[in-house]
């Protein structure tokens, strides 16, 4: 069968209708892959445009970091993602590769810091609790530099202060760190306003510089007149004022802290600059003491025990603490052949306040005027010593026996010259304190008592007593019987005398009575005679007249 036959056989069959669609329909189907390609292209381009820089961060451990999952968050906004984590060649670090997003490209600058946010519990509290559920993420503190950087060292602990926090950083100088640590709070009137963000040992190893950060808006309370002090722990002071316990808060007892306050006074001073340096005082009292000004070194020699005097003991003038003892040494005085306690003290004459300024102005005025201030201080003290200023060691506390150095004027002080300024500390003559004087006098009395030969006296006394006893025994044995006999005789005599005298009819008594009667009669006669002679004196010559009538006598009497 040929093709022609087929056609002829099927000739009766109808042919389908034929139509030609427009030419445009051809290109229509190609729109599909075109659109798909466009979409793909858009996606690729978008991915390319959105891709930020890739950075690497080194951490000690990749704990909680999961490649492809762990995010980098800044202010809780996802700004990147960990793409991979690998071990460094020496197995010391973990290198984490992070793809930052385009918008976060500015994060990769010189002073940016990265750390892993994990749940943490420390003295300052609990942080990162949210990561218990979401898993760890990498936190960023965006730096302010505009220098790009792609390799970072991750922090092991979150920074105490991030760059976006408003506030100011200050430096504190201290001789030691105390119980402070990073994160220790900073208090202003017992309100926590900041924290310790770092500390360094100074290169010379003598001091410590502590960085604190005070949050906005409290940073404006830090002025150039502010005083910082260590508020760590409990400050228990026993003084004549009683027992005082001072602490900023219970937390400072545990974690330490720093407190600051402006010096009392109307003028709060100007706001301190960023990174201003302040001394860190050991306690509030020393921090808020008036400014010390220049210091003056004093030296004193005490020829007595310094038990109870410690380095740091106060030096006091008229009850004002003007300095502290800075050194105690023992020295042998060859001339006096005795040991002397050499006490060095640092005093701050400015603490004497207005009175001292007056004194100093006087000194500076009559001097050349361009005198060095330290010399003026020395001059003032030299003058005061010449006027009788003496150092005394006094008992500050009778119970604990603590001593302090008191500078006081002594009226009876002998004039004493002070060596000229030769770079050595100013030597202040010493005198005994009143209490010590009493002690000295008691000692003198005791010395005198010591000189009394009690032993000899005792021996003599003992001899005397012995001989006395002998004597008594003798008296007792010999004299007493005699004496008794004598006494008996005496009694007998007295009895006899009694008998002879006391009995009315005793011959002596009778005689005596008669005698007395006679005497009486004689006296009466004598009186009559004198009366008569008074009246009749002529009778002495003429003799007695006749007796007149007795009644005549009366009118003449």
């Amino acid at each position: 069968m040929t093709e022609q036959d087929d056609i002829s056989r099927d000739a009766e069959l109808p042919e389908p209708e034929l139509a030609t669609p427009g030419r445009w329909s051809v290109s229509l189907v190609w729109l599909v892959p075109l659109v798909a390609a466009l979409v793909g292209l858009v996606l690729v381009v978008r991915a390319y445009l959105q891709a930020g820089p890739s950075i690497t961060i080194t951490f000690d451990t990749a704990e909680g970091i999961e490649p492809g999952k762990t995010e980098v968050k800044y202010k809780d906004v996802v700004v990147g993602k960990v793409s991979s984590a690998e071990l460094e060649a020496n197995h010391e670090f973990v290198i984490v590769h992070v793809d930052l997003s385009k918008e976060a490209a500015s994060l990769a600058v010189e002073d940016s810091r990265f750390w892993v946010v994990r749940p943490r519990v420390d003295m300052g509290g609990v942080s990162g609790l949210g990561t218990l559920l979401s898993g760890a993420y990498i936190g960023v503190d965006v730096g302010q530099s505009d220098k790009a950087r792609t390799e970072f060292e991750g922090l092991e602990v979150p920074p105490a202060v991030t760059n976006d926090q408003q506030g100011k950083r200050f430096q504190l100088r201290s001789s030691d760190l105390g119980s402070l640590d990073i994160g220790s709070p900073v208090y202003y009137r017992r309100i926590p306003v900041g924290r310790v963000v770092g500390f360094d040992l100074n290169p010379d190893g003598r001091n410590v510089t502590i960085q604190v950060f005070v949050d906005h808006p409290y940073d404006r309370f830090v002025t150039n007149r502010s005083r910082f002090w260590n508020a760590s722990g409990v400050d228990v002071s026993v003084s004549t004022g009683g027992v005082r316990v001072n602490t900023q808060s219970l937390a400072t007892v545990l974690v330490g802290g720093v407190a600051f306050q402006s010096l009392p006074g109307d003028d709060p001073g100007e706001m301190a600059d960023m990174d201003a340096a302040f001394p860190l005082f050991s306690d509030q009292n020393s921090a808020l003491a008036p400014p010390d000004g220049d210091q003056l070194k004093l030296r004193m020699r005490f020829f007595q025990s310094v038990r109870g005097l410690a380095v740091g003991a106060p030096v006091d003038f008229q009850g004002i603490e003007i300095g502290t003892v800075s050194g105690i040494e023992l020295e042998y005085d060859r001339d006096k052949k005795q040991f002397a306690a050499l006490i060095d003290a640092t005093v701050y004459p400015q603490r004497l306040g207005r009175a001292y300024r007056g004194l100093r102005d006087g000194v500076v005025d009559h001097d050349h005027g361009d005198e060095q201030p330290i010399n003026a201080d020395r001059q003032v003290f030299t003058d005061m010593v010449n006027q009788g200023l003496r150092a005394q060691m006094r008992t500050g506390n009778l119970i604990s026996g603590q001593l302090y150095i008191a500078l006081a004027f002594e009226a009876k002080a002998k004039p004493m010259m002070v060596a000229a300024d030769d770079g050595q500390p100013l030597e202040v003559p010493t005198s005994l304190a009143s209490f010590d004087q009493i002690q000295q006098q008691v000692a003198d009395i005791v010395d005198r008592l010591d000189e009394i030969p009690f032993r000899d006296i005792g021996r003599d006394l003992s001899d005397t007593v012995r001989s006395a006893r002998d004597l008594l025994r003798q008296i007792d044995g010999e004299v007493t019987p005699e004496l008794r006999r004598l006494l008996e005789d005496v009694r007998a005599t007295v009895n006899a005398a009694n008998q002879s005298l006391a009995q009315p009819d005793a011959p002596l008594q009778q005689n005596l009575t008669e005698t007395l009667d006679e005497l009486d009669r004689a006296a009466r006669s004598m009186r009559s005679l004198t009366d008569y002679l008074q009246r009749h004196p002529e009778s002495l010559i003429r003799g007695k007249a006749n007796d007149p009538d007795p009644t005549d006598n009366f009118p003449n009497e």
Binding site: I7, L13, P14, L18, T20, R23, G40, S134
Partner: protein, 202 residues
Amino acid sequence: MATQPLCVCEHCDAVYRRRALARREIARCLRCGAELYRDQRYDLNAMLALTLAALIVFVIANVYPIVRIEVQGVASEATLWGAIMATWNSGVGVVAALAAATVFFFPLGQIALFLHVLPALRRGRVPVHFSDAMHALRLVQPWSMVEVFLLGALVSVVKLAGLAEVIPGIGLWAFGILTLLLTTLTGFDLRRLWEIADGARR
């Protein structure tokens, strides 16, 4: 011409004599107006265009995450291969292998085979290993189950939406489009490719 000289309308069973078509012509049934057949070259063009689109979309679907789930700040993104690996790691290796085959390898094979066959045919030549490729294509087509995967993914997304914040990813949209494209490609009659190849050999 080796093709059947007759053609029956699929819809009304009217028989027509097949005749050659001019470019871009469509043969229609006289009775019911349904399309009987159309210019073959046009079919090849469409198939090639769709295959290319399918390839692009397939790449997108596999590169971009299908879904992003956030629960309490825990975010998790899943790509197709991430999901397959997770399935493998959870101990059901057979399921993972099956998913990998039906959602990745078979669709990819389908696209690759079409790409092997279609451009040559379009230029009027018979590609090498044409018959092997066509047999493979016939074997692969029923196993390509992107649409099943898409349905499963959609169901999971809807169910998860109550528990977590579910954000459909670019991959999910791509799989949707891929499903449409592959379905269209599968809808083409492979027999016509044979016919075209015969014509080309001639």
